[in-house]
C-alpha cells in the first residue's frame, strides 16, 4: 500500500494508522493544546481546545476527527487563536485565580495555556465559586471549584482503573464531578491510586501533601528521622531537577536527604529483597503442598484495597507478604527500638496509595505505625527545591549501614514485571548466567498492561501473568473465574506500567516512562548482586533481627475493609 499523506499547515505529513488528526499533528511537532485528550483514554471531545480549520474554513475538534489522505488542515489561524482564547477566558471566568497558593501552581494546564495564549485579562465577570474541598482521602484532595469538567479523571477511574468512584453529576450550569450522593471520596470504592490526580489538568484533584509534618519532624531534635526510598523514585526525579528523565540519581537523592536533615537514609530495595524471599517461599510452599493457587502479589496497596472491596473471595489467594515498604518499615522500627529518641520512619514513594497503606491498622504495633507516613516523589522534589539544594551540582552519596546492600532483583520492583522477574530468579532451577540472561526475554519485561510467561519448576510448568492497571486485572480475574485462563502466580500493579508510573511521580509521557523503566533495568545490570538471596544484608537479617519474628514483622493478615 502506498503511503498516505495529509497537509498540516502546508506541510505534508504521513498518516501511519493514527486514530485522529490530533495524533498526526503532534507527530508533526506541533504541540496542539488539549484538556480532555489522553491517548490511553477514550475520546471525549468536550474541551474544544484542539480545534483545527479545514480548507473550507470549517472547524473540527482534531481529537475526534479521523485523518484522511489528502486532507488539508490548519492549526493556527486567527480564527482558531481567537476561539482558543475565548475558551480559556470562559474557563478562567469560572475558576479561582489564586495560582500562587494552589497545590498545582506551575503544573496546571489551565495556567500554562493561559500564559501560552497570552491571556492578560478575562472579559467575563468572575463567577468562580468558593473552594469545595474533600479531604477525606489520605491519598488525594479534591477541590470541585477548580474543576473544568474535562472528564479526564472520570474516564481514568472508570476505563483504566475499573472503579468509577466519580462521575459527572447534574447538568447545565450545575454540572460537577461527583461521587454518588456527593459523599466523601473516602466513603466510595476509591482505592487511592491517584491516577485521577495524575491526569487532572488543574488543581481540582491533587495528591495529598504531607510535607508540613515532615519538616516539623526534621527540625525536632528529639526525633530520629529515618527514611527509605522506593526503587521507582530514583528514576523519577531527574527531569524535574535539571537532569535527564529516567536517569538513576539515587546517590544525589541520598545526599539531598542528608542535607534536609534525615538521620539515616536507606533503600526500600532492601525491603524488596525480603519480599522476594518471603513471597517465593510462600509460593513454593503452596506448590509443594498442592494448596490453592494462584498466588496474587501484595506489594501494591491500591490493588489490595481493590481486592478487599470487590473480590473478598480472592483475599485468601493474596500473598500474606507485606509490601517491601512495610517489611522494611517493621525492620527499621525493630532495629531502632532501643533508641532514646522518638523514631520516625518516613517512606518516599512513587505512590499515593502508600499513604493509605501506612495508616492501616494492620501495620501498627500498639497504635504506632511501622511507617509513620509517606511522601511522594513529587513532594520530595518540592522539598529539595524549597531547601534551595542545587540538585544537579550535589555529589552523590551512598545509603547508610547496616542496610546498605541491595540487589538488582529488588530494584526492578519499580516496574511492571519486576516482582515476577525477581521471584523467577529466586525459584528457577537453573541458576546459570545464561539462564539469568534469558529471563528478560521470557515475556516479563515491557510496559504493556498484560503479560504472560511460564517457567519450569522441578518439571512442573508454572504459569504466570503480570498485569498493571486495575481494569486489566479485573478482566484477567474474570477470565480465570470463568475457567478460560489458569495461572499459578499473578503480579498486579494498579498503576499502568507499575510504580515508575505511579501517581506520586512527576507526570511524564510514554517516552519518559520507557526511560524510567530502562533506568531501573540498567541499575540491575550494574548490580553485582543479581538475586535477593545473595544479598548479605538479607542473610544477616534472617540470622539476627528477624529470628523468630519473620511472621510478625514480614507478614500480614488483612482484616477486610481498609
Amino acid at each position: 500500500m502506498s503511503t498516505e499523506f495529509m497537509m498540516i499547515d502546508n506541510m505534508p505529513v504521513e498518516i501511519a494508522g493514527e486514530q485522529n488528526i490530533l495524533a498526526v499533528i503532534r507527530k508533526a511537532g506541533i504541540e496542539l493544546p488539549t484538556f480532555c485528550y489522553y491517548s490511553e483514554l477514550s475520546v471525549y471531545g468536550a474541551c474544544r481546545m484542539c480545534v483545527v480549520e479545514d480548507k473550507s474554513g470549517e472547524i473540527h475538534a482534531s481529537c475526534s476527527t479521523p485523518p484522511q489522505a489528502g486532507m488539508e488542515i490548519r492549526t493556527n489561524t486567527p480564527r482558531l487563536r481567537k476561539y482558543r482564547k475565548m475558551i480559556l477566558e470562559l474557563l478562567l471566568a469560572n475558576h479561582c485565580r489564586d495560582c500562587t497558593t494552589c497545590e498545582k501552581n506551575g503544573k496546571c494546564k489551565l495556567q500554562e495555556l493561559a500564559q501560552r495564549f497570552g491571556i492578560k485579562q478575562v472579559r467575563f465577570s468572575n463567577t468562580a465559586g468558593d473552594p469545595e474541598l474533600d479531604t477525606s482521602s489520605l491519598a488525594i484532595v479534591r477541590d470541585k471549584s477548580k474543576c473544568i469538567l474535562c472528564g479526564d479523571c472520570v474516564r481514568m477511574c472508570e476505563e483504566v482503573q475499573n472503579i468509577g468512584a466519580i462521575d459527572f453529576a447534574h447538568r447545565g450550569s450545575k454540572m460537577t464531578i461527583s461521587t454518588a450522593f456527593d459523599e466523601p471520596i473516602a466513603a466510595t470504592k476509591c482505592i487511592g491510586c491517584g491516577q485521577c490526580a495524575a491526569v487532572c489538568p488543574t488543581g481540582a484533584i491533587v495528591v495529598k501533601n504531607d510535607t508540613a509534618k515532615l519538616w516539623k519532624d526534621l527540625s525536632d531534635r528529639n526525633a530520629k528521622v529515618v527514611v527509605q526510598i522506593a526503587p521507582a523514585v530514583r528514576v523519577g526525579v531527574g527531569a524535574e531537577l535539571g537532569l535527564a528523565e529516567g536517569d538513576n540519581v539515587m546517590g544525589k537523592i541520598v545526599a539531598a536527604l542528608r542535607r534536609l536533615g534525615f538521620d539515616e537514609v536507606f533503600d526500600t530495595t532492601t525491603g524488596a529483597d525480603l519480599t522476594v524471599l518471603e513471597e517465593a517461599g510462600e509460593f513454593l510452599g503452596k506448590v509443594q503442598k498442592g494448596e490453592k493457587l494462584p498466588l496474587f502479589t501484595s506489594c501494591c496497596p491500591a490493588w489490595v484495597k481493590y481486592a478487599e472491596l470487590n473480590h473478598p473471595e480472592l483475599m485468601e489467594n493474596i500473598s500474606t507478604c507485606r509490601s517491601p515498604m512495610q517489611m522494611f518499615g517493621a525492620v527499621l522500627k525493630e532495629h531502632y527500638s532501643h533508641s532514646n529518641r522518638r523514631v520516625v520512619v518516613v517512606a518516599i514513594m512513587p505512590c499515593t496509595a502508600k499513604k493509605q497503606e501506612a495508616a492501616r491498622d494492620e501495620f501498627k504495633e500498639a497504635g504506632v505505625p511501622y511507617v509513620d507516613y509517606v511522601i511522594t516523589t513529587q513532594e520530595l522534589v518540592q522539598m529539595i527545591r524549597e531547601a534551595g539544594i542545587v540538585f544537579s551540582e550535589i555529589e552523590p552519596e551512598a545509603v547508610d549501614m547496616p542496610f546498605g546492600a541491595t540487589s538488582g532483583a529488588g530494584v526492578i520492583f519499580g516496574v511492571t514485571g519486576g516482582v515476577t522477574e525477581a521471584v523467577i530468579r529466586r525459584i528457577s532451577d537453573d541458576k546459570s548466567v545464561p539462564a539469568l540472561r534469558a529471563i528478560p526475554f521470557s515475556g516479563v519485561r515491557g510496559l504493556q498492561g498484560v503479560k504472560e510467561t511460564s517457567l519450569d519448576y522441578h518439571g512442573r510448568e508454572v504459569k504466570i501473568a503480570i498485569v498493571s492497571g486495575i481494569k486489566n486485572a479485573e478482566n484477567l480475574i474474570k477470565k480465570m473465574q470463568r475457567g478460560e485462563k489458569y495461572y499459578d502466580f499473578v503480579e498486579v500493579m494498579a498503576c499502568p506500567g507499575g510504580c515508575i508510573c505511579g501517581a506520586g511521580q512527576p507526570v511524564t509521557d510514554s517516552e519518559g516512562k520507557k526511560r524510567r523503566s530502562a533506568g531501573l533495568y540498567e541499575t540491575d545490570r550494574m548490580s553485582t548482586i543479581k538475586r535477593s538471596e545473595e544479598n548479605p544484608v538479607i542473610m544477616a537479617l534472617y540470622g539476627g533481627l528477624l529470628k523468630g519474628k519473620v511472621h510478625k514483622l514480614l507478614h500480614v493478615h488483612y482484616h477486610g475493609k481498609a
Binding site: G164, D167, R171, T179, A180, F181, K189
Partner: protein, 163 residues
C-alpha cells in the same frame, strides 16, 4: 418516613430488564414509579447487579429532571413555567403555594411529606395556561387564589383518607 425498600421488588424490576445496564433509565423509572423517588438504598444493589458504578447511576439520576432522589410528597404539584404559562402569570401562583407550604426553590417537599411543589418546563397544555398538575391530574387556568383553595381541598382529602 423514608419508604423502606423491598429488595425483592427491586430485583423483579431488574429481572424484567434482564439485568442490562443499558436499561438503567427504564429501571430507574420503574423504581421511581414504585417509591415516588429513587431511594439511596437501591444504589448499591443496582451497582452490583448491573455492573455499573454508583457514581454513574447518580450521574444518570441527576441528569434527568424527572428523577428525584428525595422522597416526594403524597401530592406532587407541578407548576408549568413554560412560556405560555409564564406570560399568564404562573409565578405568582407558584409563590403563593410555596409561601403557604413553607417551601422554596431548594426545599420542595413539606416535612410531613404531604406536598411537593416543583416547576416543569412545559406540560404541553399551553391552551389551558397557566396550568398545574397534581399527581398527573391537570388543573387549567389557575390563579393564586385558586391554588390556595386547591391546597386546602387536598389537605381535607388527606384527612378524610386517614379518618
Amino acid at each position: 418516613m423514608n419508604a423502606t425498600v423491598d429488595f425483592k421488588e427491586v430485583d423483579e424490576i431488574l429481572a424484567r430488564y434482564r439485568y442490562s445496564a443499558g436499561s438503567i433509565i427504564a429501571i430507574l423509572q420503574d423504581i421511581q414509579a414504585k417509591y415516588r423517588y429513587i431511594p439511596r438504598e437501591v444504589f448499591p444493589v443496582l451497582s452490583e447487579k448491573l455492573h455499573i458504578s454508583t457514581a454513574k447511576i447518580y450521574s444518570v439520576a441527576t441528569f434527568y429532571e424527572n428523577f428525584s432522589l428525595h422522597p416526594k410528597g403524597k401530592y406532587v404539584i407541578r407548576v408549568c413555567d413554560g412560556t405560555a404559562c409564564h406570560v399568564r402569570k404562573s409565578i405568582p401562583m407558584l409563590e403563593r403555594m410555596r409561601k403557604e407550604l413553607g417551601l422554596s426553590e431548594t426545599k420542595v417537599t413539606t416535612d410531613d411529606l404531604l406536598f411537593t411543589v416543583e416547576t416543569v418546563s412545559c406540560l404541553g397544555a399551553c391552551g389551558l395556561a397557566p396550568v398545574l398538575t397534581v399527581n398527573d391530574k391537570v388543573y387549567p387556568s389557575m390563579t393564586p387564589d385558586k391554588a390556595s383553595e386547591l391546597l386546602a381541598k387536598l389537605r381535607e382529602e388527606d384527612c378524610d383518607a386517614v379518618n
